[in-house]
Point group: C2
Chain length 322, copies 2
C-alpha cells in the first residue's frame, strides 16, 4: 500500500507534517507516529498544527513537539494526515500548494482533492493511525517504539469509539494487539488520559444536555441541544461537548441524530447515523458534509427553527429512500 509513498518520503531532507485544524486523537496520533518514523529514518521533521492541541491530548506532544506553522518555504516537502483537502489544515497549509514542493497525503476520508504528489487514501480504514501502523509494518515493524505505539493506539481508539464502530476490522484489532505488545502498555493508560480526566463542569453540562433529548419522526431521529446559556452556566466551552452526540444516537430505535449547539449567531449541526441513513447527504442540504455516518453543517438559527428544518430535511430524505 505504501510502496510508492515510502521511497518518496525518505528521499527528502526535511519535511513538515500537518494535522488538521481542530485536531483530534487520530490526526495528532498519526502526525506523531509519522514524524517519529521519518526522524528515525533520517529525515528532519517539523510537526505543525494551526490550532492548539486539546488538553486531553497534550501528553502526545511529549513524544514529538507540535508547533504553529512557520518558515514553510524552507521545507523540501509536506505531508498532510487525516484529511484530504488542504483547507482542512488551515490558512498556512492552504498556501503550500503555491510553493512548488511535493505535498503528500495519508488519510481515510472520501473524495480526496486532486493536489497531491502521491497519497494513500483508504476510506475503509478505521483511522489514519491504522494506516500509519501499516506503513510501519510494511517498512520495518521493529521501529514501533513505546511512543509511536501509544500515539497510534490513541488515534485508533478515538476514531473508533474504543473499537466499537463498524469501521473496526479484524486487522484493526490485530494492530491494537501488536501496539499494546510492542508499546508495553495497557489501554487504560490511554483511556484515562483521554476520558478519565473530565472536568466536573462537563458532566454538569451533559446533565443539562441530556434533558433536551427529543425524539422526532416517530422515533427515527433524535436531537440534543446545547445552548449558549448552558455553556455559560457551567463554565464550559464547545470543546466540552465532545462525545455528547453519542447519547441521542444510543436511544433505542433511533436511526440518526442531530446535535445542535448555539455558536455565536449560528447553530452548529453534528449529524450521526447508525443505519443506512446517509448523514453526509443530509448535511449537504445545509452546505455541510462529512462521512455517511458522521457529518456536520451550520444553520443560521434560531435553535427551534434549526431543529424543525433539519428534521424536515432528514424526514424527506428518509421517505425518498423508503
Amino acid at each position: 500500500m505504501f510502496n510508492q509513498l515510502i521511497p518518496k518520503l525518505l528521499s527528502h531532507k526535511n519535511i513538515a507534517v500537518f494535522s488538521h485544524v481542530r485536531p483530534d486523537g487520530d490526526c495528532l496520533g498519526a502526525q506523531t507516529a509519522l514524524s517519529l518514523w521519518l526522524q528515525k529514518n533520517g529525515v528532519e521533521v517539523s510537526a505543525f498544527n494551526e490550532d492548539d492541541v486539546p488538553e486531553n491530548l497534550s501528553w502526545l506532544t511529549d513524544f514529538f513537539p507540535i508547533q504553529k506553522p512557520t518558515n514553510l518555504e524552507n521545507f523540501d516537502a509536506f505531508v498532510v494526515v487525516d484529511g484530504n483537502a488542504l483547507h482542512r489544515f488551515g490558512d498556512e497549509a492552504e498556501k503550500i500548494a503555491d510553493l512548488d514542493k511535493p505535498v503528500y497525503m495519508i488519510d481515510h476520508h472520501p473524495d480526496p482533492e486532486d493536489v497531491f504528489e502521491e497519497f494513500v487514501s483508504r476510506e475503509e480504514s478505521s483511522s489514519t493511525c491504522e494506516l500509519i501502523y501499516q506503513l510501519y509494518e510494511e517498512y520495518d515493524i521493529e521501529q514501533v517504539d513505546a511512543a509511536a505505539a501509544k500515539a497510534m493506539f490513541t488515534g485508533i481508539v478515538t476514531d473508533t469509539g474504543s473499537f466499537q464502530f463498524d469501521s473496526v476490522s479484524s486487522e484493526t484489532m490485530r494492530a491494537g494487539s501488536e501496539l499494546l505488545r510492542r508499546g508495553g502498555f495497557t489501554p487504560n493508560e490511554i483511556a484515562e488520559r483521554l476520558y478519565a480526566s473530565r472536568p466536573l463542569r462537563q458532566l454538569k453540562l451533559l446533565s443539562m444536555a441530556l434533558e433536551t433529548i427529543t425524539l422526532h419522526a416517530g422515533g427515527d431521529f433524535s436531537t440534543i441541544s446545547i445552548t449558549q446559556k448552558m455553556l455559560e452556566d457551567t463554565g464550559c466551552t464547545k470543546e466540552d461537548t465532545e462525545g455528547f452526540v453519542q447519547y441521542p444516537l444510543s436511544v433505542e430505535g433511533v436511526k440518526a441524530c442531530v446535535l445542535l449547539r448555539e455558536d455565536g449567531d449560528r447553530i452548529k449541526l453534528s449529524l450521526r447515523s447508525q443505519s443506512p441513513v446517509d448523514v453526509n447527504k443530509w448535511a449537504r442540504q445545509f452546505n455541510g458534509g462529512g462521512h455517511k455516518k458522521a457529518a456536520g453543517a451550520w444553520h443560521p438559527g434560531p435553535l427551534n427553527k434549526a431543529i424543525e428544518e433539519v428534521i424536515a430535511v432528514g424526514k424527506e430524505q428518509l421517505d425518498s429512500e423508503a
Copy 2:
C-alpha cells in the same frame, strides 16, 4: 491451561452449565460459548440461570437457550462460569454441592472457593470469555463459529468497557481480532445490541443522576446518587443504572468513586477505583467485597448518612496508605 479440565469435561454424558445470578455479558457469553463447545464435542448440555437474562443480552439465547435450573439430579456434572463460589449462582446451584457429582469452574475472580473437582481460575484474565476463547484455542480453534465468536466477543467487551480497562492485554485484543475474523462480524453489531438501544427514560435518569455528582476528600473521591424518586419519576428500574458509576470515576483527579442507590430501606453501594485505592478492602468495611477496582456493599441508610460514612471510611483507608 485447560489440559486437565478438557478431558474431564468431555468424559461426561450430560452437563449443566451455570452462569451467575444478576447475569451480565461476560457470564452469559461464556456460558453460551462453553455450551456450544460441549455440544459440538458430543456432550448433552443445559444452560441454567436462576434470574432472567437482561433485555440487551436476550439475543444471546438465540445461540443457546438459557433456562431456569431444573432436574439437577439428572446431570452427570456441573460447570459454573464467571464466579468462584457456589452461592454466586443462586439457591439451586448451592444445592449441587450435595449431589455428589463433579463441579467444575472457569473464572477470573480472586479467592476461589475450595469445592471444585477441577477449575481454571485466572485473575489476570480480562474476562471469563477470554478464558473460554483460550479453551477453544487449546482444543480446536476451528470450532469457533459465528455464534460462539459473537458470544465471547460480547463478554470481553462488557467486562473491559470495550477494551479500555487495565485487564486488557495484547492477548485479549488478539482474541478480539480472531473472533471478528472467524465470526465474520464488526464490533458495532455487538455494541449496538449492548448499548445503542437504551430506552429514553434511562438518559433522563442519567441526566438527574449526573446532577448529584459531588467531590469529596479534596477531590480524591466522588459520589453519584440515585434516589427512589428519580427511578419513579423516570419510570426506571435499578437495571437502568448500569454503567452510571463510570461517570463520577471519570472526573479529573478522582481516585475512586461510589455510586449510591436507594433500594427499599437500604442503600446499594457500588465502588470503583482507578488508582491504588483498593475498593475491595473498602467495601469489606461494609460487609461487601469484590475486586480491587470494583466492589459492592450495602448500607442501612439513609442516603446522606451513607455518603458521609462511606467517604469517612474511604478517607481513613487512603490516609493509612499514604
